[in-house]
Symmetry: C2
């Protein structure tokens, strides 16, 4: 078995430093406007949109919520979110693999995110590229579903390293899959010792109360 590392393309540095600059501007905007911004990242199909639908249903009576949706194509997720009662903007990245800070800045010019609200950004389903792009969020939340395997934090370390909270979703499927919750947590802590965890089944509602409390406990 032979191993080697892919050489980095130097240009990446410029793209990332420009993104970091714009991300700080977004961060300032959110602070200035007293908006809590969360960036939800995961593989495709981990359940981010369903989590957001349920979150909106739980929180909307107490707190204004706005959503920015990222996908390569379709406006399906933004349509689902708007049905749940929160204004949503859909960004289609085309062949692009992640949202970047500039896209968020442009979206903020089109959507009046009111003071004291929570802005959820649902990133493109991709455990790799969105890890590199700060959007100016206060917290990054990585979602992993129990069907994906408990070794994923080791294989995709950048995403778990850069996140604050890890939602382990679809716990209703635990009886049917080979997935050990303790193992996934231990693997993720190897990468990021301060990562928090939350077990959830957006389908059955398990963990939703704790999640909403976690979000509402963040200061804007």
């Amino acid at each position: 078995m032979v191993k080697w590392r892919n050489g980095e393309i130097p240009l990446n540095i410029d793209i990332l430093s420009e993104n970091n600059r714009l991300a700080e501007r977004n961060r300032g905007y959110f602070e200035g406007r007293q908006v809590v911004c969360l960036n939800l990242v995961s593989s495709p199909g981990s359940g981010k949109t369903t989590i957001l639908e349920k979150t909106i249903a739980s929180m909307i009576a107490r707190r204004k919520i706005f959503v920015i949706e990222g996908d390569q194509q379709t406006a399906r997720d933004a349509e689902r979110i708007e049905k749940s009662g929160a204004p949503a903007i859909q960004i289609n990245t085309g062949s692009g693999c992640h949202l970047d800070a500039n896209m968020i800045q442009l979206a903020l010019k089109k959507m009046e995110v009111t003071a004291g609200s929570v802005l959820f950004i649902e990133n493109v389903g991709n455990l790799v590229c969105p890890a590199m792009f700060d959007l100016g969020e206060e917290k990054r939340v990585v979602v992993i579903s129990v069907t994906e395997g408990d070794d994923k934090p080791l294989k995709y370390p950048y995403m778990f390293q850069s996140s604050h909270l890890c939602i382990i979703n679809k716990t209703d499927l635990l009886p049917y899959v080979d997935f050990n919750v303790e193992t996934v947590m231990a693997n993720a802590r190897q990468i990021n010792p301060t990562l928090e965890f939350l077990l959830m089944s957006a389908k059955t509602g398990e963990g939703m109360k704790q999640w909403v409390e976690w979000v509402e406990g963040l200061k804007d």
Copy 2:
């Protein structure tokens, strides 16, 4: 709801055309050596490695098999494959989000892929970026697990457009998830009318016989 498209970075064109050139060289190498090369792509955790383990067990008596494994980190997959009895090379892409043709060319210099064999490339788990990078494979196989949702071909169209076969995996979980096989096929055919489909549960063995026949039916 507002939609717009991310502007492409012109540099991408140069990276892709250079990759396409090297991919054609790989294609020539495989043809010259009478090797069937398949590129397996999917989200993280769709079951590609398990499919390969079972495939090796089914085919190894009749056909030599080699594997190139792509992951951001760890040599876990190559270790699993070697236990199944096929030589494997692990490529760690670091922060990179896909394998490229040059990485395959370098791997081919380190692994003696014998004439008449099958070379499986398991790409980095990512439904976005690997779509853009031809590796010189004869066929591209996209794996989607039934836990990922039947709308994924519409949201990640490039991958389904560029693939020849779509394996719908983890059919053993169909009773527990909201996933309609007819819907996912219809969505994928909207993107790629000639895409073939194969239902599989690598866990129970469903579809394995048809898959092995499909692979063995490809001319080298």
